[in-house]
Subunit: 556 residues, 2 copies
Amino acid sequence: MNVADYIADFLYELGVRNIFMLSGTGSVKLDDAFARKKGMKYICSRHEATAVVMAEAVAKLKNNLGVAVVTTGPGGTNAIAGVVEAWVDSTPVMVISGQVSSTQYIKDRAFGIQGFNIIDNVEKFTKYSALLTDPNLIKYHLEKAVYEATSGRPGPVWIDIPMDLQSKEVDLDNMIGFVPPICDINKTHLYDLLIEKIISSERPLIAFGKGVKISKTTEKLIKILEELNVPSISARMANDAIPFSHKNYFGMGGIRGRRCAARVMKKADLLVALGTSCSFAFLGEDNACLNSGCQIAVVNIDEKIFTRKDLEIELGIQADLDNFLSYLLKNINTIKQRTNFKKWLGLCQTIKKEYPMVVDSMKGNPINSYHLIECLSQLTDSRHIFINDAGSSAYISSQALNFKDGQRELTSGAFYTMGLTLPLAIGAAVCEPNSQIIAISGDGSLELNIQELQTININNLNIKVFVINNGGYASIRDSQDAMCGGRYTDSEQILNFQKIANAFGLGYEIIETEDQIENKVKSVLSESSPMLIEVVCDSQQHMIQPLEEMKELENR
Amino acid sequence: MNVADYIADFLYELGVRNIFMLSGTGSVKLDDAFARKKGMKYICSRHEATAVVMAEAVAKLKNNLGVAVVTTGPGGTNAIAGVVEAWVDSTPVMVISGQVSSTQYIKDRAFGIQGFNIIDNVEKFTKYSALLTDPNLIKYHLEKAVYEATSGRPGPVWIDIPMDLQSKEVDLDNMIGFVPPICDINKTHLYDLLIEKIISSERPLIAFGKGVKISKTTEKLIKILEELNVPSISARMANDAIPFSHKNYFGMGGIRGRRCAARVMKKADLLVALGTSCSFAFLGEDNACLNSGCQIAVVNIDEKIFTRKDLEIELGIQADLDNFLSYLLKNINTIKQRTNFKKWLGLCQTIKKEYPMVVDSMKGNPINSYHLIECLSQLTDSRHIFINDAGSSAYISSQALNFKDGQRELTSGAFYTMGLTLPLAIGAAVCEPNSQIIAISGDGSLELNIQELQTININNLNIKVFVINNGGYASIRDSQDAMCGGRYTDSEQILNFQKIANAFGLGYEIIETEDQIENKVKSVLSESSPMLIEVVCDSQQHMIQPLEEMKELENR
């Protein structure tokens, strides 16, 4: 068995079923091995960065490794943008790249055809990276890479395989494996401290992030919330973890969050942040989203958050969420006996009713995108996966999508990266063939990876691309209004989306007035073929910034 | 004056007139400063990687700094692919990126909105990179960056400017500048050794690379070739430096070079490599392109080439080409008296006649792309700039374009990067508005940055995009034929180019038979509006590999 086939077998055994690639001479044996592997499907992307993002979608949805294969030189450097995305969003993605032949490999320069020392240049944003120098080391590299990608704070890993080694035989009897370290996770004394903090607080608020998904603890968390009558809000990447209708959940918090979540945050006296990085978008500059007397307690597997000088953490515990939440559950009756948060939860529920994202004045013409997004929520069910990426469409999606039980969302969490909607949608459609994908993109963002419309077309994926046409980069215009006296630098000319859909072989629909939304969306969702739906929205509409709104109301 | 305006002024004084950008909130003050700067033009790209490649085109054509401005987080990481391209192709490009506010900047993570410690991650493929921490240091960083980008082996540089500092005032009286080091360049004793080598050789061959363009020594080189009757060949990035009709020039050498150049290489007993990296594509594995008795002498500003273990350099001189060639010219009469290479040059000229790239059998139907490329050569003049990037279209362009005096070519030199044709063409059209751009792309490569067709459309650039439709990734198929038993992994479905041209507002023409070439190309070139011209070529056609061809002939 050669190295390329060994890799394909190894990943198949691990449960990997979809491989995203852009073929290349430098990875030709790898590509071929995956293409020949029975039970695996390979999907050709039209850019290496998008191949990695497609793999990220799989990793995020399946909570397992996503894999992309790229060629040497520009194949690898094109992939970097996607890998950093996985790094900042804690997503376990493996990139396998072809490299020039060992005899042509030279550090720091490109004397070979398309040669580049990629591993030296990706170390700081991968959890593990290695250049294969001996066929028999492939087992070790793969095992260590998978361990690193999926343990602790997950993240991307990268293995670089020179062309000559791709087809070298491995000696199955003489391969070294990787033995993962054993960690001591007994932190119960710290857990007790945190429990005491919760007991002595009056208005505790649990803020959960992607960590609950990674640790698969959503059910435990919900049980705790219900038992203790504690309210909760989410950070950007866990907005879909609990249905919005749940009585203990108040949507996404932060400066770009829901109006009700922002108000609940301001009232809390203890924020218990579980598996979230507490980003500036979430807490605001100088923790402006919190009341000045609010204490912050953090449970996170990533030690980096505890080194932040800008964040005053009262109690920080570096721990696995499952370990912590299991302990909490074990002691739930004791905590219940010593607490009563019913009134506090009731207040939060009143706020939820009083501060909806969509009000009646938004329901006219031109179409307000908040109203559009809420309609999409109403017209979809558990088999729908929502995708968005950057700018106003992502901003508004995270505020106005009322997730139902089973509905999921993929987005660019830390980076708000323009152009990721299409590759994320493709990855989702490929790994969840029974789902229908609602991909929401701005007219500006769509351009960055527009080539992937062809991938959607060729693979006939059940993706509905809703393009919010509001005349360009709406969120950047908001910044320019605020900071540059309304001088805009982006191109004002918008694509002709009907022609674009037609050129890439997709169906097309346009929604121009409010009264068309329901019928047209229903009709579009009733079919499984890929479509581009242009929604002409108000180009003058601004985004709701709940913190600013609260300040204004106070000052009146 | 604030930091952003200071940068705009500084670059204007340096002669920079075109700025390529994708607007963003993180770079909003920078974008605005460049947009307001009189005499500067900003061009909005549709991806950050392409913005950098557009800047590279300017740098390559003008032999001056190219500049791109990108936003924080994904803006910077998207740009990386373009920056590595500039690194491997020795191109002086400056990236100026927005960064999150200084108060939100944290190493190794992205807690700020779109924050990423980009400078830590680009050090190894930039000649200088810096995060601005004090407004008054901006002068130093800019001066040092420009020095590093343009001195020695040129390359990319990167300056990262936090949002809060972009609008901070600078104190013009209290700024520190950068003082470049003084280098001793007296290497005449080594030059004398090389001259003796030339004198004692019988069949010397000068191989020149991009170094002649960087050092602006093409005229000196031509004079030396003519005076000494020495033949010459070029490496990939200097194919256009000397017209192909010149009696001392035999085209591009190497495993992907011209048939005549390969034969001349095989006959030489001394290869004098000037300003070229002597890549594997140029010399072949184990220097297979050279006769086993051929000595190699190298003059190069980059020390890295002298550390290569795979390359047996007889005499290596790390020096500036202008310094070396000036010395040679000063001693030209002495050398002339002691040499007579007329017969050797005559032999080369006979070979040039005997081994054309295009033979009569290629002139039928379906269209052979060698014939097409030669026709494009014949139908163009000094105001044309040729662009190509990767795969068969680049391979064949470098073999079959017979450059005329004044004609120039831009390509992806070391990386053969798919998708660069469009951004390179845009950069060229913007900085040379009186030229007409012949952009040659494969049907596969076009997809990677297809969004930039919109940039061509919006700016109404004089670019003729010739798409060679040969049914997909032809050069990768060649590899798959050779290495994977003809199993192909790329998508076979080709875009509908007529609809694509229409969707992006470009004119369209199709050339399907050999007899249409002349008239249709003439008609297309007679207008200045942007167009996409689809040329349906033989999908079964292979690329000519002169070295393999010679071996086969020998073995007969």
